[in-house]
């Protein structure tokens, strides 16, 4: 009799304990939810955030690559689209372009009025910056897809795509944007090296600098200069103990910053009569987890963020000290770009673009993304 009752007793204990635990967890979720949920209701709509932003050569039109994120719908989460903002209007109304492409990265060719886009499968497209041109042309496919970043040279004749397989350079006809026949089908050259983590184009459009990570002789990043015409490489600098995740070069080509994955930064400079890069120490130079680093058009300033990515910091590279700070709370900054000498853009995890004025240290405009 005892043997037959024992399983029933255990079963009953388990069921009672399970119901008590379930009820208590639900109760606790409701009580804690009263504190958290009111603010959360506002956020229950799909979240939007800018992944990349660029502008026309006159700085009057912005192009933002916007990611829509919806935690309840995985397909919606990965949907990206491009929005165009006319800054000459008092309230810039977003105009969606190339909605069906779902681009992952974008690069602007401001000189020829083009925008290059790449989707998750590595398919390359070009479209016009002019609002009247809504067509896009298929320009080829990057092997392996899944692009990490892309950039266009200042002369608009070439663009580089980096993905997990390596680096690919494409020559493009500077006039054709709407015809397959004038496009290109395969890269001009490629470096199939999965260790390339980041790159930056030199303003001369002849060379680029690659950050190549290796662990064979201990953790280190090799900065390698690559000739854009031929793909030949030349070692520039070795930074031991670092995994560099971002590189930026100033518009005069004389300053370069490298960002480590922890947010530490390294400034390299070369004088006008020397081609060798030399390390310059700036006490406290760092950025946050989003690795923001952007040079001003005159190359005298560097914009970074603080460690928590909640404040933009402007560094004077001549005096090697902080010259301005811009509060961006409550948002976390993920990127910035200069519009002109006095104005720069920043974007973060909230659905807005901010235009800052350097001459009076103020937030000049806040542009909301489309709802």
């Amino acid at each position: 009799m005892l043997n037959s009752q024992l399983p029933i007793s255990i079963h009953s204990h388990l069921r009672r304990a399970f119901v008590e635990s379930l009820f208590s967890t639900f109760l606790c979720a409701i009580v804690v939810g009263i504190v958290f949920l009111p603010d959360e209701m506002e956020r229950s709509r799909p979240l939007k955030r800018v992944q990349f932003c660029t502008h026309s050569i006159d700085g009057k039109v912005l192009f933002a690559l916007v990611a829509s994120m919806n935690m309840w719908d995985a397909a919606e989460k990965n949907s990206n689209h491009l929005e165009r903002y006319d800054l000459s209007k008092k309230v810039p109304f977003p105009q969606a372009i190339c909605e069906k492409l779902n681009p992952q990265c974008a690069a602007v060719d401001a000189r020829n009025g083009r925008l290059f886009l790449i989707d998750m499968l590595g398919r390359l497209y070009a479209t016009g910056l002019d609002s009247s041109i809504s067509t896009h042309a298929f320009h080829g496919q990057v092997p392996g897809g899944r692009p990490k970043s892309m950039a266009c040279t200042q002369d608009g004749r070439k663009f580089i795509v980096l993905n997990h397989e390596g680096l690919f350079l494409w020559n493009v006809d500077s006039h054709a944007i709407d015809s397959h026949a004038n496009g290109v089908a395969s890269p001009h050259w490629s470096h199939l090296d999965g260790e390339i983590v980041c790159f930056a184009l030199n303003p001369d459009s002849d060379t680029a600098v690659l950050g190549r990570f290796s662990e064979s002789n201990g953790k280190q990043t090799d900065l390698v200069e690559v000739n854009i015409q031929t793909g030949e490489t030349k070692m520039l600098f070795v930074k031991k103990g670092w995994r560099m995740v971002r590189l930026a070069i100033s518009s005069n080509g004389r300053s370069m910053v490298g960002v480590e994955d922890s947010g530490e930064m390294m400034l390299l400079q070369r004088t006008s009569d020397s081609e060798a890069w030399e390390h310059r120490s700036i006490p406290g130079l760092c950025t946050g987890t989003s690795n923001v680093a952007c040079f001003s058009p005159d190359s005298s300033l560097l914009i970074t963020t603080d460690r928590y990515s909640r404040r933009l910091v402007a560094w004077n590279l001549d005096q090697k000290e902080i010259c301005n700070k811009f509060e961006t709370n409550p948002t976390i900054v993920v990127g910035c770009s200069f519009l002109n000498e006095d104005q720069f853009l920043s974007w973060g995890v909230d659905p807005a673009l901010r235009v800052w004025n350097l001459s009076n240290n103020t937030l000049e405009r806040k542009i909301q993304l489309s709802p």
Binding site: E20, L22, S24, V32, M71
Partner: protein, 109 residues
């Protein structure tokens, strides 16, 4: 050395530990939900990273398993406490200490 505690104190100790386990787990789940747009970049737990990856960056699977795990652990603690109060309290207090440490880490990080 054995510390003799009255059944009331033992019961109270168990209740506090048991509720602490639930509360910290629920607060952690809400923080995960609030940070869902950036959690892919900041999650440190390898198991959590795998769950986020399986759900294509969504947090629903992570939240579901966290909820089920909490209910399962609390059920086990209750069963153990009812069979062997001293063992149940000891385990509940150890888990509660871990959870309290997690709570401090979450608010400091």
């Amino acid at each position: 050395m054995m510390i003799n505690l009255t059944p009331n104190i033992l019961s109270c100790l168990f209740s506090v530990s048991w509720w602490l386990v639930i509360v910290v787990s629920v607060v952690d789940a809400y923080l995960l939900f609030l940070c869902r747009d950036v959690i892919g970049e900041y999650e440190l737990n390898p198991a959590g990273k795998v769950l986020l990856m399986i759900a294509n960056g969504g947090v629903w699977l992570f939240l579901l398993l966290k909820f089920l795990g909490t209910v399962l652990v609390c059920t086990c603690l209750l069963v153990m406490y009812r069979k062997n109060p001293r063992l149940g309290i000891t385990i509940a207090m150890v888990i509660a200490c871990f959870q309290f440490g997690l709570l401090i880490f979450l608010y400091c990080a």
